[in-house]
Symmetry: C2
Subunit: 241 residues, 2 copies
């Protein structure tokens, strides 16, 4: 993870609950610096605590500012989130594109920020003009109003995803381990032997196809040592041993 993380800035947030939920969302992805511009109901907020799931006390102390200009004065690169296209000549990023761009700045030790507007109205154009770029979340065009904390969550999620090495797909095998080919073959040979004893393969012509079909089930499943042992037990049980 980079040492410099984006700061989250909420402009004119109304409900303390939303500030708390936003804090929880950003901290779920490791962000810990939250700034507020002109929060309607003041700060600190008891309502925020009801929704933060303990995030605020784990983060840096929240700082409150009168204007967005003051809140971002020490930052080098700032992204404004907005749903509506603005008549402003600005780079527009998806959340993923914005996360990549933010990384290019943090990798150069620049301080970055992501700005969110008030619950109902979003950011005003003068605030957006202060920012270097816009991030817009691609969404259902017929239902594009996001909860404030949800918007914060997505931007924080994409930031962390940029810096996360978790493979998209793994096989969780717990204490077990994928079976080696020979263990798999041993089981399949035994199964074939027992099936053959009981006349399962009605004709010799059908045998290769049936064997292949059965094999594919277990190979495709990525069968483990433990499962091979379980299957041996299943066969033993079925044949009455």
């Amino acid at each position: 993870m980079p040492t410099t993380k984006p700061t989250i800035i909420l402009v004119d947030p109304q409900m303390g609950e939303n500030i708390g939920a936003a804090a929880r969302a950003m901290h779920n992805f490791g962000l810990d610096e939250l700034r507020l511009v002109n929060p309607r109901d003041g700060w600190p907020s008891a309502n925020a605590i009801t929704m933060d799931a303990g995030a605020l006390e784990r983060m840096q102390p929240v700082r409150v500012f009168q204007t967005l200009a003051e809140a971002i004065a020490d930052l080098h690169f700032v992204v404004a989130t907005t749903a509506r296209p603005r008549d402003m000549i600005k780079p527009v990023f998806t959340p993923r594109g914005a996360a990549t761009e933010i990384n290019t700045h943090t990798n150069n030790n620049q301080k970055t920020g992501i700005v969110f507007g008030a619950e109902r109205m979003g950011l005003i154009n003068d605030d957006i003009a202060l920012c270097h770029a816009i991030a817009t979340i691609p969404c259902n065009p017929d239902f594009s109003s996001f909860n404030l904390a949800q918007a914060v969550l997505l931007m924080a999620y994409e930031w962390m995803a940029q810096n996360d090495q978790t493979p998209g797909h793994t096989l969780n095998t717990g204490d077990s381990f994928p079976a080696t080919q020979d263990k798999c073959e041993e089981f399949l040979s035994r199964l074939e032997f027992e099936l053959n004893q009981r006349g399962f393969f009605r004709t010799e012509e059908i045998r290769p196809t049936m064997k292949r079909n059965i094999r594919n089930i277990f190979v495709r499943a990525g069968i483990t040592d433990q499962e091979i042992r379980t299957l041996h037990g299943v066969v033993s049980s079925l044949i009455g041993k």
Copy 2:
């Protein structure tokens, strides 16, 4: 967009507000089929409506089931979301990986589902065992408890992102258009001329570097027609014309 979309299934959801918020989150990304297993406070729920921002009435009618097995009976591929690793031999996906996998199934006209557990406890192992795969959201290991609707949001977001063609970065130029090179050159030549008249280039040695530095500001900004006109006005104003 594919014609088949994943169904969202909430198991043992407690608060109606969370069901409403989950509906809003999924519908933000175009999902419209929600199923509930054994909702604690029953269904329909007035509390859900307070948090859905109108999503529920735009979606398919919510269906309620007694068990997860019944709720997913007609589906072909089902992903369980869980934060904790389970001692179960299962493929584990990131949200992005799960979205890719879901797509491979929906592209084959299979019906898919994404299952979420109750707010506090998540899914029980018997419910997870019914599912083909697990999705786990990579997050801050010290603060990994997600709000239910937030987890729904991320899975729905990744599903839509798979099917969305929005470029990661565009330049929003509104009604304007990037300036052609010759308009840019014309402005830079005029600027150089006026600067030269006023002795801006103190030495001939410094001139090429200064010209290049000034040029880079405007080229890097991807200056538009409208902005070139504005800049001509700025220069005219500064020289007192």
